[in-house]
Structure formats: structure tokens, C-alpha cells
Subunit: 124 residues, 2 copies
């Protein structure tokens, strides 16, 4: 699954680089039918998702990816499921937070957009 791993890896790198540099630019990765569940809160549509992400109460954030796993999510369409675990460093805190995030990517015109996005912090 080399191709899928490469696509997933590029997506994950691009997503978190964009998130950590200027997260309002993530809007182009979502569509009106996209869904985000963020710490249990359900948000639908690109505009509302970006509004939610921008409103998160930190100025500075860094995602450090520990694992990324990808699988094709369909036998007929080139969609893929990407599961990420890692650490979140917020406002230079010395105590990073564990997180897990799942993306379901659907193909569109030679690229992909995020149809499903589920984010959780993992408290010990």
C-alpha cells in the first residue's frame, strides 16, 4: 500500500503544517458535507469547521505526529482512511497532550478533501 501511505503521509504533513502555521487556511481541505467531531462536539460544513478550529483557545500550537496508518476505505472509490496519534504542544507548555485523530479522505479532481474528521485528546 505504498501509494496510499505516500498520499496519507503528504496529507498529514500538509494538514498539521497548515494547522500549526495559520489554521484558518484549513478551509480548502473541507467541503459543505464535511463533518468534524472535536472532543465530542459535532460540527458540519467547511465554514463552521474552520470557525471552530480558529476559535480554539491557544495562540501557538505544534502537532508532533507519532504514528500514521492508512487504509483504502472502499473497494470501488479511491478514498482512504488515515489514523494519526501524536503529541500536541500548546503555547509552549512543557507538558504535551496525547491526541488521536481520524481523517476520511475522498478523491476530487486529482486531489482529496476531508469528509470525516474525529479528534480526541487522550487523558491518562
Amino acid at each position: 500500500m505504498a501509494d496510499i501511505d505516500a498520499v496519507a503521509g503528504q496529507f498529514v504533513d500538509f494538514y498539521y503544517q497548515t494547522f500549526d502555521s495559520d489554521r484558518k487556511n484549513l478551509g480548502s481541505l473541507y467541503r459543505d458535507a464535511s463533518m468534524l467531531t472535536f472532543e465530542g462536539a459535532q460540527i458540519a460544513g467547511s465554514a463552521a469547521i474552520v470557525e471552530k478550529l480558529v476559535s480554539l483557545p491557544f495562540q501557538k500550537v505544534q502537532h508532533k505526529v507519532t504514528t500514521k496508518d492508512a487504509q483504502p476505505s472502499s473497494g470501488s472509490v479511491a478514498s482512504l482512511l488515515v489514523s494519526v496519534t501524536g503529541l500536541l504542544v500548546v503555547d509552549d507548555s512543557p507538558n504535551p497532550l496525547q491526541f488521536s485523530q481520524v481523517f476520511h479522505l475522498l478523491p476530487e479532481g486529482g486531489s482529496y478533501y476531508v469528509f470525516n474528521d474525529i479528534f480526541r485528546l487522550n487523558y491518562a
Copy 2:
């Protein structure tokens, strides 16, 4: 998304009850096209997936679910994505392990089977 949450909740309860009581019985939840990525190892097909799960080196295991989130994974089919985080208690160890797991469930004859399954332990 009350229906989806109910279906996801029932699935998650049933999956981990079966895993923790006799995991060889999980085979009925997978099909030949099903995929499991377990700590980075890729396994395909119901028989190989069950063989992998049965071979895990513990006698006694308990999954304690902390969070479960579900979303429809398609605009056209009643498939769903379920993301779980929780604690794994292995052989009565006093130190439970954090885990995260994603299931992609596809409908089949009034029920669902697991098409995608990605499991990771989350080390601090």
C-alpha cells in the same frame, strides 16, 4: 445523529465484550475484504485477522472505553466511522495502556461488518 450513535455504541460494546471473553469469535464481524492495521502491521481478510488477534501474547484482557465518536462515512450508503479511545488492562497489570482504534463499518443485510480496523497503543 442519535441512530448512528446508538449503532456505534452497540457495536463497540459487542466488539470489546467478545474480544475480552473469547476473541476467536470476532471472525463473524470481518469479511474477506476486511483490513486490520495493528500497531503498524497490515493484515487482510477475516481468517488472518482472527489469527492475529488470537495470537496476541496475553491471556486475559479488558478494554475500558473512555470515548466513542461516530459519523456517517458516506452520503449514499449507511456506512459509519467509529473512533474509540480507552484503556487496555492486560493480564491484570496495574498499569493500563492507552489505546485508540478506528472502525469503518459497512452495512450488510440489516447489520454491519468491519471493513477497516486500525489499532494503536498510545505511549506517553
